[in-house]
């Protein structure tokens, strides 16, 4: 009933072959795009920074006579003010692993690539995921720079030998407590843990307004608290650490066992509870204050409060990844990201974290002017894997219906 005429058959066959040929033709295109695996083959590139003086031709301004005047060779003046010129030697590409809010990452990446003419790509992963990715890749990283996860993760990564030390000249402006003594990581922002309260839901259900951490354990709040899962989220890990560090580990586990009864859901990312707060699916979310404020700004019935008995905070870190394939570009990024100008980009993209550089303008100083605990970053970093796994295996799976 549908005998295809030979003419039509040949025409469509031709069309089919054309399609097939087209797909075959895309293979070389793909090949051209497949630069990352090709990179290890051109091994010397990884050593580019050490080899740089051997090829002075590419940076005429900085090295007319590298040996002649040793005093001038580090040229701190030239480096302190990062000129808008491309880096001396490198691929002109940079891969960034980033954790903050998407609009901020995009603004930051765009500003960097516009300033330096470096083709910058990024992937956003939460803090826990980022660490997992680096561990998984074990010395063969896809990324060059890691930007904006809580430094707890950086401390763990350093212990695992996944980072490379680099102290840019701009690091001098960063206070000592916000950077690693050996230069393996530098803090770029500060953020405090806060509570997001959906006032409408809280009011309608007549729920108690929490003031201190123990208020979250009240039985009336059953199924009303949302936080992220510490196994995947740096935010949640900071929350867990806040309790553990103020009460000791055993009391801390007891607290989360009790809190679990009131938990509506553990989300994957730290900011994800805001999705449920915005939609009034839950009354209270434990989230970084800067993430909560985005919903407040939207005009939603969300209040940002802080536990009166002290809250934890994060320092968002940044590091050069060991085995990075684009080291000069990565160094350029690190040097630039500590400058006041680079640290003020966040506020333009609704990211209200406080900059670590004292010269940069603080968008929302009140977020850090709350009662903060004496957060022990070294302890948090050293115990990260053990505590995350115990939470995942013992706390989160318990039935709470």
């Amino acid at each position: 009933m549908s005998q295809v005429s030979s003419q039509a058959g040949r025409l469509s066959r031709r069309r089919f072959l054309r399609l097939a040929a087209l797909s075959a033709a895309t293979i070389p295109v793909l090949q051209a795009c497949a630069s990352p695996p090709a990179a290890p083959a051109t091994a010397p590139k990884a050593d580019a920074p050490t080899a740089a003086p051997a090829k002075p031709a590419t940076s005429p301004a900085a090295s007319p006579s590298p040996g002649a005047s040793p005093a001038a060779s580090p040229s701190p003046a030239a480096q302190a003010a990062p000129a808008a010129k491309p880096v001396a030697k490198g691929s002109g590409k940079l891969n960034v692993l980033a954790s903050p809010q998407l609009p901020w990452i995009q603004a930051q990446v765009k500003a960097f690539s516009d300033t330096f003419g470096i083709e910058t790509n990024f992937v956003r992963k939460s803090g826990g995921e980022s660490l997992a990715q680096l561990r998984a890749e074990g010395g063969r990283p896809t990324f060059d720079v890691w930007w904006g996860s809580p430094v707890d993760s950086f401390i763990s990564a350093r212990a695992d030998g996944l980072l490379e030390s680099y102290v840019p000249p701009t690091a001098a402006e960063i206070p000592t407590k916000y950077k690693d003594a050996d230069g393996f990581w530098h803090g770029i922002y500060l953020g405090s843990i806060g509570w997001a309260i959906n006032t409408k839901r809280l009011g309608e259900k007549g729920l108690p307004d929490p003031k201190v951490w123990d208020d979250l354990l009240k039985p009336e709040l059953k199924g009303e608290v949302v936080m992220a899962h510490p196994a995947t989220s740096g935010t949640a890990y900071t929350t867990v650490m806040t309790i553990m560090q103020t009460r000791g580990e055993d009391k801390g586990w007891e607290y989360f066992k009790a809190l679990h009864r009131n938990i509506f859901q553990y989300t994957k990312s730290g900011a994800a509870p805001m999705r449920m707060l915005d939609g009034a699916e839950a009354a209270i979310g434990i989230v970084f204050s800067h993430d909560i404020f985005v919903s407040v700004e939207k005009g939603l019935p969300i209040a940002l409060t802080f536990p009166q008995d002290g809250t934890g905070y994060e320092v968002g870190g940044m590091a050069l990844i060991k085995g990075a394939q684009n080291v000069p570009e990565a160094r350029q990024w690190i040097e630039w990201a500590l400058t006041p100008a680079a640290q003020e980009i966040g506020a333009t993209a609704q990211a209200y974290q406080a900059p670590t550089n004292p010269k940069a303008k603080v968008p929302k100083p009140e977020f850090m002017q709350v009662k903060l605990i004496d957060y022990d970053f070294a302890f948090a970093g050293a115990n990260e894997e053990r505590i995350r796994t115990r939470f995942l295996e013992e706390i989160a799976p318990a039935p709470n219906d």
């Binding site: 089919f16 998984a136 915005d278």
Partner: protein, 569 residues
Amino acid sequence: MSAAASQPAAGAHTPAGRGAFVPNPGLWLTLAVVGGVVALFIAYPLWQILSQGFLNRRGELDVAAYTSILTRPVYQTVVLNTLQLGAVTALLGTALGFLYAYTLVRVPSRLGRGLRVIAFLPLVSPPFAVAMAAILLFGRSGLVTRGIFGIEYNIYGLQGLVLVQVLTFFPVAFLIFEGMLRQVDASLEEAALGMGASGGHIFRTVTLPLLTPGIAGALLVLFIESLADLANPILIGGNFNVLASQSWIAIIGQSNFQLGAALSVVLLIPSLLAFILQRYWVDRRSYISVTGKPTGGSVRVADPRMRAALLLVCCGVAALVVLLYVTIFLGALTRVWGADFSLTLEHFGGVLAVGQRALVDTTMLAIVATPLTALLGLTIGYLVVRKHFPGREALDFVSMMGGAVPGTVLGIGFILAFNRPPVWITGTAFIIVACFLVRSLPAGLRAAVAALHQVDPSIEEASTNLGASGLTTFRRITVPLIRSALLAGMLFSFARNMTAISAIIFLVSPRWKIATKEILDLIELGYLGQAIAFTTMLMLIVFAAMGALTFLVGRTGRSRDVLVVEAGR
């Protein structure tokens, strides 16, 4: 259709009209290339999964991961959850698919066409669409649950997962049953009717037994689909974890590759058992050919009350599906669902800013992978059906496995296998295209095999006898004859590529972004409106591309072929 008549196509896997194995260089070369691709991208990653489960971070032999799965309560719960969800989804999905197909075939009405199109929607839409809409409608601040009934229903968990999975996967069962019901020999039921049996009696003693293989097949296929599902457990599972999501957390959260691999193996066992059962037991017991001529059009449901009831149920289901998709579109235009229902286009603007790259990348890579899949599927199908060579069965089985194993398993296998020399392709477009290729190969392969069974080998032999080479015959005789089936295979490959998540989620890189992963990120970051807008745009691209492809190659992709492809999943 005249060509198909002389070949009865007894069973999909019975080799037909094959000569003895005659080694010839061209065939050898083709076999080597095809076998190499299949071995590298399917067998090798799966081998990595099997072996990595026994290796700890230092590369020493270690059974710690398996011990903890066997002894820790958390993992035992996860295994039980997985099987429970799989069983419930398979049962309900099969029942619904059967009801839907029975109604469409046996209760002719003007609604039939529309109902059929609606059943196709979940098959070609992105993974999060149904779950997101379900949360918006039936969640704690759902429009229906809270807005209309004033109750707070917790949709996160098993209940929500079952709802979403049944609505997503019942069309697969529907297509299997529709094909069978259309081809079941009407004379048997007519004979029973003639001898005075009642409608219900005939249904129980004649119709159902005839369809038993279909029921078993649908149950198994849905069980496999449910186990493999990652997107829905992530989004709507709440604290109800299944193996797919737990192995994903093991990799991305705990960076414990050993545990992730071990959990994958545990997930692989029931999936593979179901796959083997379906393939070697159910398929061989098929009383009717899925590929023959339609014959069963004449049997009708006689009882008018029964007809009305069946139609009502189907319309209800279809209305629910439509409601979910309308919700998606409206959600994309709503400022903040549940709090501020004012209309806005800001989410689409946001997607264009955030996700343009991902949309372009995904579409481009899917376009590249689709004809490659068709070509590979056709080549393997041709070799398997027409040629005789050692390892034929193994080639067919391994090719099908790439789509049958859960996506997370394959994705984890891909990073384990390809993040190191000698084949170091993580971070490139290659790995994504390879993943697309492997995941949709079964659709292309089944289409080719089913179509080839309909083509009488004597036509090809005539060409060879007239002096044409094997390649020329393949190119000028075989391919044009089965073109429409190939197109149908390509349509589904493309839709599957565009909406894949469970395997591809492990393979995104700075250079190559995948739309479904971006959607998941947006959901996780709390940009629900943008996520929904993104989903809408992805759906529109899929629909547009399917329309364009159909138009481009001519309207030859008849429903018969589409049916064959889907039944072969």
